[in-house]
């Protein structure tokens, strides 16, 4: 019942996104869309996925898009090209897809083909072979560790791409330090600043909890990395980018991003060197079960490091580019006047 309500709400939000022209409202609606999807995933028993979607889809994605629309403009152009051909194409494709779904198994049926072959083996055998309660973590980190390695490298590549597109060599200016100590952009937001300063340690602690308890409940490296990055980004938003740059050293963060990927790959290489396959954790220690636990711990640590650093890198580069753009405009205005 609740999933029907949530899906209908999702449809309403999606139609509202089409109709609105104010990009700020559209980005906020996409954040709501992410939150509704996360609630839907909880209703579907996909707790790990809901965690990740709430952190990533409703949190980081909305934040990054808001930073971008401060630079690119808030309103969409009012004239659009003729929507009729697009509408026809979409209706035809949609009706063909719906015709395709008529053969599919009904929602929730236990004898659907997806529940045969590999999934019962994971559910039944993962306790003896790996020994951790969270089946999703054991599939992600052990049975399908190679796919997760590819995913980690994709995130790392996105971080490199953002660095390549948006970063520039900064000359450290002495004025920076003096500016940030004397001037806090949000002096009037006293309540927010004080509450945030109290909350940030707890957010970081929660991120570490999610990282290390991913074996026993929903959680793991990705969710923990995003929550950790969210705490740092919160600090940067409230106390200014220059203050945050003193607290969080940028080259150090870039080093951590690369170290995470290196750690993950090294675990696979050590298994190779010990005589097993790539990412075969049974060979990491004397008995297979503790080898699996060690392997999962190390790779989740690698994932957490890289995801947190890449999210921080992306946010800092977006915000830095905006600051540079604004200071260029201020210089041009001063020159012309």
């Amino acid at each position: 019942m609740i999933d029907i309500v949530l899906l209908t709400l999702l449809l309403v939000v999606a139609i509202a996104i089409i109709r609105m022209k104010d990009l700020f409202a559209v980005v906020m609606l996409s954040g709501i869309y992410g939150l509704l999807s996360a609630s839907f995933f909880v209703a579907m028993d996909a707790v790990d996925v809901a965690f990740t979607e709430a952190a990533v889809g409703a949190g980081i994605s909305t934040l990054l898009m808001l930073v971008v629309i401060t630079m690119t403009g808030r309103n969409e152009n009012t004239t659009r090209h003729k929507p009729f051909p697009a509408l026809v194409l979409v209706v035809i494709t949609g009706s063909l897809l719906i015709y395709g779904t008529l053969d599919m198994p009904y929602f929730g049926s236990a004898d659907a083909p997806v529940h045969s072959h590999v999934a019962p083996r994971y559910i039944n055998d993962s306790m003896q072979e790996i020994g951790i309660p969270n089946i999703v973590t054991s599939i992600l980190a052990s049975y399908r560790a190679f796919d997760t390695f590819g995913e980690l490298v994709v995130i790392f590549t996105a971080g490199i791409g953002v660095l390549a597109l948006l970063s520039s060599v900064r000359r450290p200016i002495d004025g920076d330090k003096i500016v940030c100590i004397n001037y806090s952009m949000h002096e009037q937001h006293l309540v927010v600043r004080i509450v945030t300063k109290m909350l940030i340690p707890f957010i970081l602690l929660f991120a570490l909890y999610v990282q290390f308890h991913g074996d026993f409940g929903p959680g793991g490296g990705f969710q923990a990395g995003v929550i950790f990055a969210a705490a740092i980004i919160l600090y940067a938003m409230l106390f200014g980018l220059s203050t945050a740059r003193i607290v969080i050293n940028q080259p150090f963060i870039q080093l951590i991003a690369a170290t995470g990927v290196l750690l993950y790959g090294s675990v696979g290489l050590v298994s190779l060197l010990n005589g097993g396959n790539f990412f075969d954790y049974n060979f990491l220690s004397n008995d297979p079960l503790s080898g699996q636990h060690l392997g999962i711990l190390l790779i989740e640590l690698g994932v957490g490091c890289t995801v947190a650093s890449v999210m921080i890198i992306i946010f800092f580069n977006f915000a830095d580019y905006r600051e540079r753009q604004q200071s260029h405009e201020n210089e041009q205005n001063q020159e012309s006047s």
């Binding site: 899906l7 559209v26 992410g34 990533v56 152009n77 697009a86 949609g94 049926s109």
Partner: protein
């Protein structure tokens, strides 16, 4: 059949709304959001396929007999994270396009590109 296939039909509708936004809207940020809509509808498709009526979350506990299928959950976890990576890269490309062309409307960018091409042709002929 309506209740049994309701999830799939909603997924198809969300997917088509996302596709429509990508095709019919000129603003690049709106297109990226349309792509996000499309992506999330595929996630909903996989996750509702994984649900088993009477099952619970796939975390092993002593007194539970029926679990929902954990394999699509793993695939979608990867997909969500890869999705945010591509969105971040797409957004940084939009920032650079804005700096280069002065606008993120598809028609303005197209017009400026055609203008550059026409100027090049004129200069070659002259």
């Amino acid at each position: 059949m309506l209740i049994g296939l309701f999830n799939n039909w909603i997924v198809v509708m969300l997917m088509m709304i996302g596709l429509y936004i990508v095709i019919a809207h000129g603003n690049l940020i709106k297109k990226i959001i349309g792509l996000t809509l499309f992506q999330t509808s595929v996630f909903i498709f996989y996750i509702s396929m994984a649900k088993v009526v009477g099952g619970t979350a796939p975390i092993l506990a002593d007194d539970i007999i029926q679990y929902s299928n954990p394999l699509p959950h793993v695939l979608i976890l990867t997909a969500i994270v890869v999705g945010i990576a591509t969105i971040a890269l797409a957004l940084s490309l939009v920032i650079r396009i804005k700096a280069a062309y002065g606008s993120i409307e598809e028609e303005d960018i197209q017009r400026q590109d055609n203008q550059i091409k026409a100027d090049k042709k004129e200069r070659k002929q002259a």
